[in-house]
């Protein structure tokens, strides 16, 4: 699809002559809208597998970009972050507004949740203020219909002055029309109808806009929009304008003082009220809510937030997710390892006879083996069920019920989502801490996640303790772990300065989850783990072989002797295992069997040692990929501090456990 292949340009509607290096069969569309409206589903429908997921330059905000080929057009689609307005200065909002106003995509597809039209239109009105070339997509029409909502498409389109399309993204309905309308808009670049607010406010906007135009100020944004932003007290825009013209700011302040004194109301509040008043009047004349019968989802909602059943639901969801992962994972893990053994099984004898071959076979192949048997079978069922739970809306209710408990560790209910993810793998879990509002909360959640037993640690736990000491001991360690997360969470809350922000969360309605979308979600998450983890596995496993063959292990064991043997009461070679475990926690088991030459760990450990070993392994340091993402998201200092806190906790608790168990048993 190179530009040269295209037919000679059809320049009938070409308005953007300045942009010469862009062929007019090439467009850029941006998807914008509130969170949870179905933007990602639409984005996936549009771009299929042609996606690049990355970050916005210099920001930790996700950026998804893809290509759509549509009736001869090559369209780049950008999925902007889900936001509710352009006025709270979050990274997501800044990224979105700069993209829309400055990069000027050829069409902005505003995806809205049809059943929450009024709140969504609040955002639509702000897009219109920016003169964005808009197509309004009313998504989740199926849900709206179920709720007895009827929307008059023509009326809505007429009032807003933009095309309106109905879609049910999960079934792909209406997507074609949406793109068709967007292409029309991109080709014709029609002038917007200017929506007006109340007369009092409009007068102020006019005054400021007039001043801006008189001063011939140009900051890249449309002047009416700049005027509104100045009246709203937008810090960024005010700074931008102040740099160019003090005069405007002086006049602005005079206008603001006068207006606010007269109305006894701050202008930003007036503007929000006015936008909602307009949205509300548009909804009143195009939206109809029929009384719907008591629906099944209402009962579900009642149940999931009930003072008793709610907690049972929360427990069942979290517990069920972990149990399901464990049982399904175990079954598949067995099957896969049997399958792999048919191909070629790792042979510990080889290291003596053919060192180089051993590094390649036992090392590399062993690493791939471990990845395929330990990670894939656990991660896939976990993410699949999690995606289904997320999509159903159940997780929102769990977060609602658990909010007051999470408060005790300085977090709010929403933090439960990354922490539960942490039981799968810390890396995507820490990545998803972005849903929290402040850096402090992201840091606290990430800290809690480093203590949560991810699937790798669960394997160590069950592989060492569950198998050789007793399943009840493994479960006990799980419970101990919960207590540790809680206690360390509280310590961190006291140690990190700042106040927690409260929970503001939309309670989206219950939906029947779509398997197809859950599978897609699972694949995306699994893929990112494979990329991060597999190379480390393979290299790590080869490294063990090198260490083993060239006998670098003994000096390490000796150096760590005081800690491992004297304080923790472990066998001397445990020092090496702990070192290996920093790469991936399962390497502890892998290494133990390599060193012992058998998978029966009781040959080298007493049961008490296994318990202590597992406890220490569970806590002592985040694996390298986790440290890497901690460093990336929070800086290396925080990453180092978190790691130190982990090591400290593990050593103290491990030592105490050893001495106590030794005393009693």
């Amino acid at each position: 699809m190179t530009p040269q292949n295209n037919k000679p340009a059809n320049s009938k509607n070409k308005t953007d002559l300045a942009d010469t290096n862009k062929n007019d069969k090439e467009f850029i569309f941006a998807l914008a809208g509130n969170a949870n409206v179905g933007k990602s589903v639409i984005f996936n429908q549009l771009t299929g597998s042609n996606q690049i997921i990355g970050n916005w330059p210099g920001k930790t905000v996700d950026r998804a970009e893809g290509v759509l080929n549509f009736e001869g057009y090559e369209i780049k689609v950008i999925d902007l972050p889900g936001i509710y307005s352009f006025s709270t200065f979050s990274m997501e909002e800044l990224v979105s507004r700069d993209y829309i106003a400055l990069e000027k995509p050829d069409a902005v597809i505003n995806v809205v949740d049809a059943s929450v039209l009024e709140r969504n239109l609040f955002f639509t009105l702000q897009l219109l203020e920016m003169n964005a070339p808009l197509v309004l997509v009313l998504n989740q029409i199926d849900v709206a219909k179920n709720k007895g909502i009827i929307i008059n498409k023509e009326k809505l389109s007429e009032m807003l002055g933009v095309p309106v399309v109905f879609t049910t993204a999960t079934r792909g309905e209406g997507i074609y029309e949406a793109v068709k309308e967007a292409v029309k808009i991109a080709n014709s670049k029609p002038k917007h109808k200017q929506l007006k607010y109340h007369k009092d406010l409009e007068e102020q906007i006019d005054k400021v806009q007039h001043t801006i135009e008189k001063e011939k100020l140009f900051v890249g944004y449309p002047s009416r929009w700049v005027a509104i932003k100045l009246l709203e007290g937008d810090i960024e825009i005010t700074k931008l304008v102040a740099e160019k013209s003090e005069q405007i700011i002086v006049q602005l302040n005079a206008i603001l003082t006068e207006f606010e004194k007269h109305h006894q109301e701050k202008c930003f509040s007036t503007i929000a009220s006015e936008r909602y008043a307009l949205a509300s009047s548009i909804v009143a004349s195009s939206f109809q809510q029929e009384k719907s019968a008591h629906r099944f989802t209402d009962k579900l909602d009642w149940f999931a937030t009930h003072r008793i059943y709610g907690y049972i639901t929360a427990l069942a969801v979290i517990g069920g997710l972990l149990l399901w992962t464990f049982f399904v994972g175990n079954t598949f893990s067995d099957l896969i390892s049997q399958g792999l053994n048919l191909i070629y099984s790792v042979d510990p004898e080889m290291s003596a006879s053919a060192p180089l071959l051993s590094i390649i076979f036992n090392g590399f192949w062993g690493g791939i083996n471990a990845g395929l048997t330990l990670i894939i079978p656990f991660v896939i069922p976990f993410y699949l069920l999690l995606a289904l739970i997320e999509d159903s809306g159940l997780l929102t209710r769990v977060a609602f019920m658990m909010d007051s408990i999470m408060h005790k560790i300085g977090l709010h209910g929403k933090a439960l989502i990354p922490i539960i993810l942490g039981y799968g793998c810390s890396v995507p879990a820490i990545h998803s801490c972005k849903i929290m509002e402040t850096r402090r909360e992201r840091l606290l959640a990430a800290f809690a996640i480093t203590f949560a037993p991810c699937s790798a640690r669960t394997i160590v736990l069950f592989g060492m303790v569950g198998l050789f000491v007793g399943i009840q001991w493994a479960l006990l360690l799980y419970v101990v772990n919960l207590v540790i997360i809680f206690v360390m969470g509280r310590v961190a809350m006291k140690a990190v300065p700042g106040k927690s922000t409260g929970l503001i969360m939309e309670m989206s309605s219950f939906k029947r989850p779509s398997i197809k979308i859950a599978l897609k979600q699972t694949w995306i998450r699994t893929k990112s783990i494979i990329y991060v983890v597999f190379p480390i596995y393979i290299i790590g496993s080869a490294l063990i072989q090198v260490l083993y063959i060239y006998d670098i292990l003994t000096p390490i064991s000796n150096a760590l002797y005081p800690l491992t043997v004297l304080w923790l009461g472990l066998p001397a070679f445990a020092g090496v295992l702990l070192l290996l475990g920093t790469v991936r926690k399962e390497l502890i088991i892998l290494g133990a069997s390599a060193i012992l030459g058998t998978t029966n760990l009781l040959i080298g450990f007493t049961p008490i040692q296994l318990v202590v070993m597992a406890l220490v392994a569970m806590l002592y340091i985040p694996c390298v990929s986790t440290i890497a993402i901690l460093g990336k998201e929070f800086g290396w200092k925080s990453a180092a501090l978190i790691s130190l806190a982990n090591i400290g906790t593990a050593l103290i608790l491990g030592g105490l456990t050893f001495h106590i168990l030794n005393f009693f048993i």
Binding site: T88, L117, E118, K261, K266, F400, S404, I405
Partner: protein, 236 residues
């Protein structure tokens, strides 16, 4: 109003969450006064139209009574915050101290204290909501900007406000005042909680958890520390 009257009002207010009836025994216990004298005092309060009193059941505050009760409770809890956060007096002692000071604190000093403490939302000793002020503002920034006009000029709010944290499931109300810092205020405005908006409290999670409100066709969960800053006029 007398000191003892104020103490009664404060006690009834703190004992009755969202307008529930408060029994004489509870009041007697909390104030550490013999039940017969309590009954006598409650009758007087009822005559003055501060409470509705029905023998054998108990008392509820009238609109007029609620106003006075909120005023004195607000002063009490602001003082507790001041004593604890600024003077660093132990949390176990602030209650006694505030009980003495609240009766002499002027309205003007009350508002200055509120601004000085940056609009505290809950009191330090038992985490209860500090009632909203009675100035006719819809957020604290208006107060910061306009308070120099003087209290007479600014006037007063005529309706009593209640925080949505202290409401029953199913209650309807009209957003009137959002307390606190700009960022949260702006987010709540963006989510549709603009002054004058009708809302319904759908559900309050147990253990002082979040409040779920229905607003403009959407449902929002607001954590306790946000909910205690969102004040409504009750719809009657």
């Amino acid at each position: 109003m007398q000191k003892s009257t104020q103490d009664y009002m404060k006690t009834i207010y703190s004992l009755s969450k969202n307008g529930e009836i408060v029994s004489n025994a509870d009041i007697a216990q909390k104030l550490n006064i013999a039940p017969p004298s309590v009954t006598e005092m409650l009758k007087k309060l009822a005559e003055a139209d501060y409470i509705k009193y029905s023998p054998y059941h108990g008392s509820t505050l009238t609109e007029k009574g609620l106003k006075e009760a909120q005023k004195i409770t607000r002063k009490h809890r602001l003082l507790e915050s001041f004593l604890s956060n600024v003077l660093h007096i132990g949390k176990d002692k602030v209650h006694q101290e505030a009980c003495q000071m609240e009766h002499t604190l002027s309205d003007e000093a009350e508002e200055s204290l509120c601004r000085l403490l940056k609009h505290p939302d809950t009191c330090p000793d038992d985490d209860k909501t500090i009632p909203a002020c009675d100035l006719p503002f819809s957020n604290c920034e208006e107060c910061i900007q306009l308070h120099q006009k003087g209290l007479e000029q600014i006037g007063k709010r005529d309706k009593n406000l209640v925080s949505i944290r202290d409401l029953k499931n199913g209650t309807f109300g009209k957003i009137s005042f959002i307390r606190g810092e700009h960022k949260i205020l702006q987010r709540l405005l963006d989510m549709g909680l603009t002054p004058g908006t009708k809302i319904q409290v759908v559900k309050i999670a147990p253990m002082d958890g979040p409040v779920e409100v229905a607003v403009r066709g959407s449902k929002l969960a607001l954590g306790k520390d946000i909910a205690c800053n969102v004040f409504v006029e009750l719809e009657t």
